[in-house]
């Protein structure tokens, strides 16, 4: 068995309600290896959030197994370890901020994990620095902007040194500037600490920076592959309520007209670089 991954084996999840039962996920087989940057996309109600909550045992599967580094999330003995391995950031940062001061909020997690005082201080410092929050350390989180709050929430999770960071639509509340910054921070965490990141979003532009895109619909995995390959599946994307990112759409149109555009181009930075390279070649 592979120890360094989150593995879902034949996972289904059913919610019971007065109007009957609803299968949010069906027969999911999935492995997320350590160090991967994975994006999960899907329309409202496709099962994205349910999937995220299975990763750290917030909910348990109705059928099948979820293993985090080989530990079954259904086994209560492992729950504490699993939760300290898999950090979660929710859509609305207000839901997970607990303290009236930024640095205390960030210290909350590592303190509860029982780290010694010096270690807690070190972790808090690093998390503040990683998310660019040093200047806001003594501020009250509830008075910060949405983007700043979201960074506090991430820093607080980061301070627990999780191996996996799961973010459920963290950009839904952010404006573009804050969004771009957040993606930049995530990319850096991945590079510097080799952290595994699972980013859930239905903004396709957010998913142009990941290594692997998984598209969910009707509780099943519909697509799983590199961004470049997934974004080529126009019909499936449409059936799943999603669209190609604009840059990919433009690159496709240009290719159809006979221009050479690198098939790996999926995001803005790559497109700008590509065009600049072409223009300089000419000079």
């Amino acid at each position: 068995m592979d120890q360094n991954c989150i593995e879902l084996i034949g996972v289904s999840k059913c919610y019971q309600s007065s109007s009957g039962e609803r299968w949010a996920l069906q027969e999911i087989n999935l492995k997320i290896k350590q160090g991967e940057f994975v994006g999960i996309a899907g329309r409202n109600g496709s099962g994205k959030t349910t999937l995220a909550r299975l990763f750290n045992g917030l909910i348990l599967p109705t059928a099948g197994k979820v293993l985090v580094n080989g530990m079954d999330t259904a086994d209560r003995r492992y729950l504490f370890q699993i939760r300290s391995q898999v950090g979660m950031v929710f859509q609305n940062p207000d839901h997970q901020i607990v303290s009236p001061i930024v640095e205390e909020d960030i210290a909350f997690g590592p303190e509860n994990l029982g780290f010694p005082r010096e270690k807690v201080k070190e972790l808090v410092e690093r998390a503040l620095k990683d998310l660019g929050l040093e200047k806001l350390r003594n501020h009250a989180p509830h008075l910060l902007s949405g983007g700043q709050k979201q960074r506090v929430a991430i820093a607080a999770v980061l301070a627990m040194q999780p191996a996996y960071l799961v973010l459920d639509e963290p950009t839904a509340m952010l404006d573009q500037q804050a969004n771009i910054q957040l993606i930049r921070h995530l990319k850096r965490l991945r590079q510097e600490y080799g952290m595994t990141i699972v980013l859930i979003s239905h903004h396709m532009e957010d998913l142009t920076f990941v290594d692997r895109v998984i598209v969910l619909d009707k509780g099943r995995i519909q697509l799983d592959g590199s961004p470049a390959s997934v974004f080529q599946e126009i019909n499936t994307l449409e059936r799943c309520g999603l669209k190609q990112p604009e840059i990919v759409q433009m690159a496709d149109n240009l290719r159809k007209k006979g221009y050479q555009v690198d098939p790996d181009i999926v995001n803005l930075e790559q497109m700008v670089e590509h065009i600049c390279r072409l223009l300089k070649l000419k000079v």
């Binding site: 109007s19 409202n44 404006d175 573009q176 239905h202 999603l242 433009m250 555009v261 065009i275």
Partner: protein
């Protein structure tokens, strides 16, 4: 004919207290009957404060707002204004309370004492306008619907009042791409087919650029510019839009401009951008 006139509107929250904050500062513009006006601005620029003046929810601290010739600060006008101006708040589905879709949509008319037969006809019509099948949804609880459908039910509960002016505050927030497109088409159709005046607030230019006839840009409670998209996309406003948020195709054009690339035609739509990029590529092939 202008249906809304805003004259030197200033609004101060908590005036006279240490927490006083000027949210709108000497704002003037007008909206024509049947027009689609897009209002854009960063978080905290005063967008939501502004639109709450259109049906008298907020009263100007200074200046005047008139809707259909009625001054919104005169109390006797408020009942009429609530009927004429339909205001769709952010995340309107969070305010739903009725057990069925039919009751939810009918609520406003029931309160105004309309006869049952007319209510039924208008509820059906409103649901059809937002692309929902009345047979299918009227008996359902709003809670069992998807996020996009719930948003459309909320819109129907405003449309049922047959407002002359429809004001929407971030109507697509949180919707997936298809839900967003569908809702935007419904809104545009209301303007074209029913000649409803539409005022839509968004923190992103992307969705407004092709829908709105004119765009009003707010920053720090002031009007930066209010004009047709071609004029609003002038290079001198670009730094402001970078903060507010631009569609990817425009960011592509602007970033290339920063690298020294020159474009000879203005870019407003996705097609414009593609045409300009195509021109560049053609040159490199020569």
């Amino acid at each position: 004919m202008s249906i809304i006139e805003v004259e030197s509107l200033t609004f101060i929250y908590a005036q006279g207290t240490p927490y006083a904050r000027k949210a709108l500062d000497d704002v003037s513009f007008s909206v024509e009957q049947g027009e689609f006006l897009g209002i854009v601005g960063a978080n905290g620029s005063g967008k939501s404060t502004l639109v709450q003046h259109f049906n008298g929810l907020l009263q100007p601290t200074q200046g005047r707002v008139t809707v259909c010739g009625r001054d919104t600060s005169i109390k006797e006008h408020s009942r009429e204004l609530w009927k004429k101006v339909g205001l769709v708040f952010q995340f309107p589905e969070q305010q739903m309370f009725a057990d069925t879709v039919a009751d939810e949509v009918a609520y406003g008319l029931k309160n105004l004492g309309y006869p049952k037969s007319e209510i039924n006809v208008r509820v059906r019509e409103a649901l059809e306008q937002v692309g929902l099948d009345p047979e299918e949804v009227t008996g359902l609880s709003p809670l069992v619907l998807s996020g996009g459908m719930r948003r459309r039910v909320a819109l129907a509960s405003i449309l049922v009042m047959q407002p002359e002016v429809l004001v929407l505050d971030e109507p697509t927030a949180g919707l997936d791409p298809q839900g967003r497109d569908k809702l935007l088409r419904i809104i545009k159709d209301l303007q074209i087919k029913r000649n409803t005046t539409v005022i839509m607030v968004s923190h992103s230019l992307s969705e407004l650029i092709t829908l709105a006839d004119r765009l009003l840009v707010l920053a720090d409670g002031k009007v930066v510019v209010c004009d047709i998209p071609e004029v609003v996309l002038d290079p001198k406003y670009i730094p402001l839009f970078k903060e507010i948020g631009l569609p990817e195709y425009l960011r592509l054009i602007y970033e290339l401009q920063e690298q020294g690339v020159r474009f000879d035609k203005p870019v407003v739509t996705f097609e414009d951008a593609e045409r300009e990029i195509e021109k560049l590529l053609r040159e490199t092939m020569r």
